[in-house]
Every structure is written in structure tokens, then in C-alpha cells.
């Protein structure tokens, strides 16, 4: 009897560790199981890119139909957010890459064997299962990398589109104070308040990175734990609705991440002037309606 309980103690008891476990090291660089999944997803896209780029013709045939349909649907959706076809086409490569990369990474985490096939290893004094594959989104490094990259891209695109003085004055709005001085004391007070609002915007940029990364990480990691718990309760039939939930969560989280990055890009590339022009056009239009016809 003592032998049996000893065997039980050797079984791994937790479902997934918070940090991705390193499988091997290249020099000093640890390669984790989530990293391997991300590499597999990247390899998948490289293969897709090769297939999509050979024997192009004006009239698409065969598999090119799928690619054209996908690109058209994507650009159409993005136009609804940007209201500007040129911007939608310019942002499409980056945003669509983020969307498809996260989507494929999330869905790859549902393949049987991800998170379950592995080896037992002594970690922190307890035997734990180190899986060979783990969804890439379940590693905070993956999501944080995409979030930081999108922050850098948004700032760079904003500076390129509006010029560096315009862009910096969105955050440090000293120019607004100078412009408001000839307009009177009330305008100066408003300009000072807007200056502090601009400073808070800097903090909100950092918060955007955190929220983007933590949202995706939390959803995928909680999905892993949920699947582990459900599969350990009843191995057949009960996990089916939860696997559907995971499929849905994969799509929704990829959509949310990509759409948020698109919104940030759109907001960063519209200058203050465009806002004022839109307001003036709307006012002018409504005044025209009220004028009686001669």
C-alpha cells in the first residue's frame, strides 16, 4: 500500500504553469514550448505565402479565390473602422498579420496533444508535467511582444502621417497654450487642462500595451486551465461545448486585438485639423438645410 501512495505522489498535479516552460537552450537562450508553437504557426504562414504567390493571374483560379475573398473581406471590414479606403489598404498588412497569427496560434492550441503530451520534470520540488506543445498565446512573452510592437508601429505611423510636432503636441500640448493666449483667459484655462490631459494620454499608451497583452494572455491561459479541468473531470462528451467555446474565444480575441490595433492606428493618423474640418462640414450642411429656398 505504501508503494501505491508513493506512485500517486509522483503524478503531476497542476494543469498548466503560469510561465511557459523551457524545453531546451540554444546557447543561453531558453526555447519554451510556446515558442515552438509560434514557430510552427510562422512556418505554416510561410508555406501559405509560397502557395499564394505562385502562378498569379488576373482571374484567380483555385486556391487564389480563397486568398482574394479573405483579403477583400478584411479590407472591407477595416474600411468600416477607418472610413478611408487608402488608410485601410495601408494598414491591412500589419493588422491582418496580427489577426491571422493570433487566430492560428489560438486554434493550434486546440489540436489534441497540445498541453498534454510531455515529460515529467522536477520543478520546485514537485513533479510537474512539462508539455511539448503549448498554445503560443498562453505565454505572456508572445502577447507582450505583439503589443509592444504595435505600440511602436502606431507611434511611428502617427509621426510619419502627421509630422513630429503635430504628433508630440497630442501628448505635450504646449502649442495649444500659446495659441489660446490671444483668445482670452477662459481659453487659456481650457488649454492648460488639455495639456494635463495630454500628459495622461502618455500613461494611457502604456496601459493600452498592458491591456492588449493581458487580455489575450488571460483568455488563452484561462482556456488552457479550463480545458485541463474539464478533461480531468469527464474525458468524453463533457469537454465538447468547452472546445467550441475555445474555438469562439480564439476568433473573438484575435478580432479584438486586431481591431484595437486598427483603431489605435486610425486615431494616431488623424490630425486635429481633420476633426475640426469634419465638424465644420457637418455644421455647414445642417445650416444649408435650414435656409429657406429662394
Amino acid at each position: 500500500m505504501a508503494k501505491r501512495t508513493e506512485n500517486l505522489k509522483a503524478l503531476p498535479m497542476s494543469f498548466a504553469a503560469l510561465a511557459a516552460e523551457p524545453l531546451f537552450h540554444i546557447g543561453n537562450f531558453p526555447v519554451t514550448n510556446s515558442m515552438i508553437n509560434a514557430w510552427i504557426a510562422t512556418g505554416f504562414f510561410v508555406v501559405i505565402a509560397f502557395i499564394a504567390s505562385r502562378r498569379k493571374s488576373i482571374v484567380p483560379r483555385g486556391i487564389h479565390n480563397i486568398f482574394e475573398a479573405v483579403v477583400e473581406a478584411g479590407v472591407g471590414e477595416m474600411e468600416k473602422v477607418t472610413n478611408n479606403k487608402k488608410k485601410a489598404l495601408a494598414f491591412f498588412p500589419f493588422v491582418a498579420t496580427i489577426f491571422f497569427f493570433i487566430l492560428v496560434s489560438n486554434w493550434m492550441g486546440l489540436i489534441p496533444g497540445t498541453g498534454t503530451i510531455g515529460f515529467n520534470q522536477l520543478i520546485h520540488g514537485e513533479m510537474e508535467l512539462v508539455p511539448l506543445f503549448r498554445p503560443a498565446g498562453a505565454d505572456l512573452n508572445f502577447t507582450l511582444a505583439i503589443a509592444v510592437l504595435s505600440l511602436v508601429v502606431v507611434q511611428a505611423v502617427g509621426i510619419k502621417a502627421t509630422g513630429i510636432t503635430n504628433y508630440v503636441s497630442k501628448f505635450v500640448n504646449i502649442r495649444g497654450i500659446f495659441r489660446a493666449i490671444p483668445k482670452g483667459p477662459m481659453a487659456v484655462v481650457v488649454a492648460v487642462i488639455e495639456f494635463f490631459v495630454g500628459l495622461i494620454e502618455i500613461i494611457s499608451e502604456a496601459a493600452k500595451v498592458l491591456s492588449l497583452s493581458l487580455r489575450l494572455f488571460g483568455n488563452v491561459f484561462a482556456g488552457e486551465i479550463l480545458m485541463g479541468v474539464m478533461l480531468s473531470l469527464v474525458s468524453v462528451f463533457l469537454p465538447i461545448p468547452f472546445i467550441f467555446l475555445e474555438i469562439l474565444v480564439g476568433v473573438i480575441q484575435a478580432t479584438v486585438f486586431a481591431m484595437l490595433v486598427l483603431v489605435f492606428l486610425t486615431v494616431a493618423t488623424e490630425s486635429h485639423g481633420e476633426h475640426e474640418e469634419e465638424h465644420k462640414e457637418k455644421e455647414g450642411g445642417s445650416e444649408k438645410h435650414l435656409e429657406p429656398s429662394h
Binding site: 491591456s211 493581458l214 487580455r215 488571460g218 491561459f221 484561462a222 473573438i252 478580432t255 479584438v256
Partner: protein, 72 residues
Amino acid sequence: MSPEAMTLLAKALAIAIGGFGPAIGIGLIGFSAMNGIGRNPEAAGKIFVPMLLGMAFAEAIAIYALIIAFTL
């Protein structure tokens, strides 16, 4: 109470209280979406995507609480 007991209690309270606000928020978003679809059933497709986006934002707050519960 012992530190381990306090840690367990903190974990439980973090996710319990942290999930309360987002749940109400998501319910309110769904409520207004249902209202909009009820008034204008043709707009159901247009309302669906912004509703999902709003729900994902609200759910993110609950995810932050879950991360704290995991890391404690």
C-alpha cells in the same frame, strides 16, 4: 490567520469581487444590444460586431482580476 490561508483568501476574493463588475457590464452591453435589435431588427448585423467588441473590453477587466488570482 496563517499566511497561506490569507493568500488563499486573497486569491478567492480577487476573482470573486473582480468578476462582479465586468459581469454586470457585459449584461448591460447585451441589454442595450437587445434593445437596439428589438427596435430595428435589420440592424442586427451592424450591432453584433460592436457589441462583441464592447463585451471583450468589459471581459478584459475580469481577466486582469483572474491574472492577479493566478499570480498570488
